[in-house]
């Protein structure tokens, strides 16, 4: 009898727990979502951040109990695909996620060409796509985001470029100005000559001109490693400030070369986080400003951002010049989850798009609630920091709010 109880109780308990587990499994559905990002190749620095943000967001949503849709609980199942910084692989990965796996939403990629080609696949399959690529703004229009438009299911998770350019230009000039003997009047924008570089610099030059700057634009071929000939040319233009756009990795190669050549009395490094400036022990006798896309992990402006990066790095993500890019992807998992809950069904992407278009969501990336405009673009502020001359770790940062209207060059 005692033997029977000894054997029987654990058996009953095991059976009951098995039934309970099965009930939980039966109750929990799964929502397949995907990420296409460069986990290898030349865009790996940005691409890794997308995958890391996606892992963190889905883990948090699932750990918090998942999503309730029409009374049933669902958890995100994440599929990450490496595009190897190759458009053919990105397309193959998008096809796989959309057609083979059957995801309902895709995050990525980090490159304009890849994002646009992917949008043609996701759009026709009515799969939502969230991409942080700012140059997508060039094709997001009334027609393309209309119900039958090819970008109806695509959302740009970066602000409109004129907004970011204006807030960045204001922030840089207001921080650098007091450090120079005379207010800066002449800026040189030094930018990689690729799709993103051309698109970004066009807006930034306009923003600088609107701030009263005389601007020269010098473009360098992508993948340049020896910048000295072009930087010598920049020096010959006698700039007050040289603005390095846009690729943080290239900037980190070019900036030390500029310091050696003594190109300008002040610098701005776009997409370089104070955290990486400190980790690399960079130092300059001139004032150096830098901005993050969108908020800096090395100098988090809000507690929410600080908490986010603590969790992000705790998950094993690398501290890189573009780690902050992860914030362009993180909040939108929560927005998507909220939209699904609001719609109350999983098989109506048009309703999810409509819910996202109306949604106000308080995320990490912004101090004010996030919302998409008519062209599926968000609005949030930009953080700009100044490294004190001669210092690697003393920063003065400011969060510049985006303007309401586009700048007009003076």
């Amino acid at each position: 009898m005692r033997f029977g109880i000894t054997l029987g109780l654990p058996l009953v308990a095991a059976l009951l727990s098995g039934i309970a587990t099965q009930t939980a499994l039966a109750e929990d559905g799964e929502i397949k979502v995907g990420v296409v990002a460069a986990e290898s190749g030349s865009f790996v620095s940005a691409g890794n951040t997308i995958a890391a943000a996606a892992k963190l967001a889905t883990q948090q949503i699932n750990d918090a109990g998942g999503i309730k849709v029409a009374g049933k609980t669902y958890k995100f199942k994440l599929f990450i695909r490496d595009d190897r910084t190759n458009v053919d692989t990105a397309i193959a990965a998008a096809r796989e996620l959309v057609n083979d796996v059957g995801v309902s939403a895709v995050w990525g990629t980090e490159s304009h060409d890849f994002s646009v080609s992917m949008a043609k696949i996701t759009g026709s399959a009515k799969v939502l796509q969230f991409t942080g690529n700012s140059s997508l703004g060039g094709v997001l229009s009334d027609e393309s985001v209309a119900k039958d438009g090819w970008l109806h299911y695509t959302f740009q998770t970066e602000p409109q470029e004129w907004q970011r350019s204006t807030s960045t230009a204001k922030g840089v000039l207001s921080l650098v100005g007091p450090k120079l003997k005379t207010p800066p009047k002449h800026s040189v924008v030094f930018v990689g000559n690729d799709a993103t570089g051309q698109y970004l610099s066009e807006n930034y030059v306009t923003a600088l001109k609107a701030e009263g700057q005389t601007v020269d634009l010098v473009k360098y071929p992508p993948d340049t490693t020896d910048f000295s000939p072009l930087l010598t040319r920049v020096k010959g233009l006698n700039p007050d400030v040289v603005h390095f756009w846009y690729n943080g990795d290239s900037t980190l190669i070019a900036f030390p070369q500029a310091l050696k050549l003594g190109v300008a009395p002040a610098y701005f490094l776009f997409g370089v986080d104070p955290g990486i400036y400190k980790e690399r022990g960079l130092k300059a006798d001139q004032p150096v400003t830098m901005s993050c896309v969108p908020m800096c992990w090395g100098s988090a402006p809000f507690q929410a951002v600080k908490d986010y990066f603590e969790k992000y790095f705790a998950l094993g993500a690398a501290k890189g010049p573009q780690s902050s890019v992860s914030l362009l992807y993180y909040d939108y998992f929560f927005m998507y989850a909220k939209a699904l809950e609001q719609v109350g069904k999983l098989d109506d992407p048009d309703a999810v798009v409509a819910a996202l278009e109306k949604m106000q969501y308080q995320g990490v990336v912004s101090a004010v609630p996030l919302s998409f405009n008519d062209h599926h673009q968000v609005t949030f502020a930009t953080e700009v920091c100044l490294a004190e001359p001669g210092s690697s770790d003393k920063f003065k940062c400011a969060v510049e709010a985006p303007p309401a209207t586009a700048p007009k060059a003076n």
């Binding site: 986990e39 290898s40 190749g41 030349s42 490496d82 190897r84 910084t85 190759n86 458009v87 053919d88 692989t89 397309i91 193959a92 990965a93 096809r95 796989e96 959309v98 057609n99 083979d100 304009h112 060409d113 646009v116 080609s117 043609k120 026709s124 140059s135 060039g138 094709v139 000559n193 690729d194 799709a195 993103t196 570089g197 051309q198 698109y199 992508p222």
Partner: protein
């Protein structure tokens, strides 16, 4: 003379019979046998490739197969140029770019769709091929290779700074391919068959060129340009001809690429993609009919099959290229052919006789 041009049995084996043997002779029977063998092999390969989509291989595999298909078409152009005429180019992606941008610009600025743009892409790329080939009349070898590299870089600079005409660095978008007989080419399966059809036509054309008197002339130029001139061959004309043919195939590949990606930008046609095309031809082998296709399959599928990142892939390609140069000068295709012949010889004991 013929044997000197052919430079051994490998081109004879799959490249076709280059000299006609008297009817009823043993050699004639061997040629006929090989011809039947080639046709049977081609039909079997096409049947297998055509059946792939029905094997539930997945969209990812199919996507890479499409990429492989149009890359192979471009490679057949380069294969003619390199394998038959002996002139290497490391700027072949530029020809692809001319074809692709012709289609994209016609679509964006004139509203011309795929079918109307198709001949234009081929013709413009052929003209571009001829123009890039002009310097080859004055320089050869590594000097010409550098010129092709420069032409490629020049095209990218022009496209990147071409403003609204070329879409600058952002590039251009194109719409869908208009339906023909109700076939919707937005469906990946249909696009696969479109690329496959183009590839089969390309294979047929290349086979015809290689086995024509023109093909023999090209090989005579490859083997000894001075001798070819001495016997009255218009070498300059034939060289420009092969550049134009090479460009035409690249143009076809270009338009298929742009309507597959639905968006193009200059980075697709830069130095790096060009080097990859040259690598594929050298790996696969430029002289044999299936060489370019094998090269395209290796380079497109190797990272997938072995899950290689770009750095590992480049190391693998480098090692493979060294192995090919040292052990298989005719490319992987010649190695596969040798294995095939060996197996056939062991099984049937006839090929070795025919081969000899």
């Amino acid at each position: 003379m013929t044997m000197e041009f052919l430079n051994l049995k490998v081109p004879m084996a799959l490249g076709g019979a280059h000299g006609k043997a008297p009817a009823g002779s043993t050699e004639g029977a061997g040629n006929r046998g090989r011809r039947i063998e080639q046709i049977a092999l081609a039909v079997a390969l096409i049947a297998i490739v055509a059946a792939l989509p029905s094997l539930n291989i997945g969209y990812r595999f199919l996507s890479i197969a499409i990429t492989t298909g149009y890359t192979a078409i471009a490679l057949y152009g380069l294969g003619l140029q390199f394998g038959q005429a002996g002139i290497m180019s490391v700027g072949h992606a530029a020809m692809l770019g001319v074809g692709a941008y012709t289609a994209a610009m016609l679509s964006n600025h004139l509203g011309v769709g795929f079918w109307a743009a198709l001949p234009a892409s081929i013709v413009f790329a052929a003209i571009a091929g001829g123009l890039v080939g002009l310097p080859s009349l004055r320089v050869s070898g590594q000097h010409y290779i550098i010129i092709t590299f420069c032409c490629c870089a020049l095209l990218v600079i022009c496209l990147t700074n071409g403003g609204k005409l070329t879409g600058a660095a952002t590039g251009l978008d194109v719409g869908s391919i208009p339906r023909v007989f109700g076939i919707n080419f937005d469906k990946l399966f249909n696009y696969y068959y479109l690329v496959l059809a183009a590839l089969v036509i390309t294979l047929g054309l290349v086979y015809a060129i290689v086995n024509s008197s023109y093909g023999r002339t090209l090989r005579s130029i490859r083997e000894n340009e001075q001798l070819a001139r001495a016997i009255g061959i218009n070498v300059d004309l034939h060289k420009i001809g092969v550049f134009m043919a090479s460009g035409a195939f690249a143009g076809l590949a270009g338009i298929l690429q742009v309507y597959y990606l639905r968006h193009i930008s200059p980075t697709l046609y830069g130095a790096f993609p060009s080097l990859y095309l040259a690598l594929m031809v050298m790996l696969g082998g430029g002289r044999l009919i299936y060489g370019p296709l094998i090269g395209a399959i290796i380079v497109n599928f190797l990272p997938e099959v072995m899950d290689l990142n770009p750095v590992d892939s480049r190391i693998a390609y480098g090692v493979a290229l060294l192995v090919v140069i040292l052990l298989l000068p005719g490319g992987v295709s010649s190695g596969l052919l040798a294995i095939y012949r060996w197996i056939c010889g062991r099984l049937f004991g006839r090929v070795s006789k025919a081969g000899s």
